[in-house]
């Protein structure tokens, strides 16, 4: 198997395993707790509003905001790691349709693999820190994915002409 193809297929399988393992952890230890927390905080907030206790309503909504922020990102990470893994495997199988030299294909493959790992990782780290670091990582990861996908699309068009 050529290096770029091996990188994409083996990397894709590894990323899928990571995404699934993370999904199992998330389903068992985080999902139900977060969903319960979201429901309870909304109920508490509106019940407090019914009792004209605006301070308690505000605190409960603050909890909702934090939980919703974490829940959305946890779901996104699981979906994106597995989705990107599938794209890596399929592109690995079809890589000989891309009309570039092997070295450049290996560079595109490495960029795509790195972006596919870093982009959801940046999103996941946003649940731990609201700082700029995780956001920069997510943006950089997604930029790597888009740039390498654009390169592969160009290479495919080139391969068709050749």
């Amino acid at each position: 198997m050529i290096a770029a193809r091996r990188l994409l297929i083996v990397g894709g399988i590894g990323l899928a395993l990571l995404g699934m393992t993370y999904g199992v952890w998330y389903a068992v230890f985080a999902e139900h707790q977060e969903l319960d927390g979201i429901g309870k905080s909304l109920t508490t907030s509106f019940s407090a509003a019914a009792s004209r206790d605006s301070a308690a309503a505000s605190v409960a909504l603050g909890e909702y905001k934090e939980l919703k922020h974490a829940y959305d990102r946890h779901v996104d990470v699981h979906g994106h790691w597995i989705g990107l893994a599938t794209i890596l495997i399929v592109l690995g199988i079809g890589l000989d349709r891309v009309g570039f030299r092997e070295q450049f294909k290996a560079l595109l493959a490495a960029t795509l693999l790195a972006g596919s790992f870093l982009f959801p990782l940046g999103v996941l780290l946003q649940t731990l820190s609201r700082g700029t670091g995780p956001r920069v990582l997510a943006v950089a990861g997604s930029a790597l994915v888009i740039a390498s996908l654009a390169g592969i699309t160009l290479g495919f068009a080139r391969g068709q002409k050749g």
Partner: protein, 366 residues
Amino acid sequence: MRGRAETFAPLSARRLLALGGIGLILVGMLVGDIFAVFVLHQNAAKVGGSLSAAAHAAVAGDANTVAASFQSVGSFLENRGTKVDTHVHMIAFGYLALVLAILQPWVALRESTRKKLAWLFLFGSWLLPVGVFLIHYVGLAHSPLTTIGWASIFADLGGVVVVLATLGYLLGIVRHLRQRHSVPMQDGLIDDRSAAGSVLFAGGLTLVLLGFLHGGYYAAFDLNRHEALDYSLLSEMSIAAGEKNTSAVDSALGSYGQLGGEKAVNIAAHAHAIEFGLLAMLLAFFQPYVRLRDPWKRAWAWVLLAGSLGLPVFVLLELKLGLLAGGIADVSGLFVIIALLAMWIGIVRYTGKIDSDAQLPAGRRA
């Protein structure tokens, strides 16, 4: 043998996974279409209605009704969630089946073992979504456990079966990678460069790229604004309810509904563009199996791509054009389903030439 080869070939593990995978995707899409037309909007209206009831109960100072209304929201969301999960898991398992079908030449196991694993995989792939679909209806009836019902137990069992079958194939791939191969592998599906396959691969790759570009744009310009708005509108509702200001509550409820719509169409457009793109790329590899004339194969490839582009574009336009765009998006989804069905029929009609070639020693292949 000649007569048999020209009618219907016996199912190889690869064709079984291809037919089963496309079948899962077809049923998953039909479930999604039925869900979108008959359940999604009605369910969203019920969720909105319950949220409105909770906010108005808060205005009236009725904490019990607030709690009951949020319990209803939970129940409606569970109903919606299990239907979405059924749709998504069927399609995802279908994709995985197609990937495993393509990878078969790299699986160093006997054909009979690969075929048993394929049946096992397909059994689990049906059991999980059917179990998930039934969760809302079966509940905890006759369950030996206090929190998990029979439907969930069978759904989890289906998931375990899928994981075991996939691990079996993975073991075969590891065995292949550990063997020494002096001659590069040739494969009728992977080496195919037919026009229909190229159209599907190019179109699919472009759709995936467009989906990522749209997702990036949404994350950069709208995601944070939507998250902040979600919190501020709920906060507005809660404060207005505390002040018994019904008109402010209604205004916030209206804006909250609109925000939900905006978020939903953006996420759906992004996800569908990438999923349909991936589907087109996967189907590109199976074109040698599709026993239809070349012009028909090309025509179905274009129909699939037109539907795959039309659905996310018109889903996005739903906020501006309303029901008209929604209708066009549904018709686009139907295009994808019909093209997929045509390819599935073509694969059923397949004569077995590639499978029999693959079983010959390299030097004797046609």
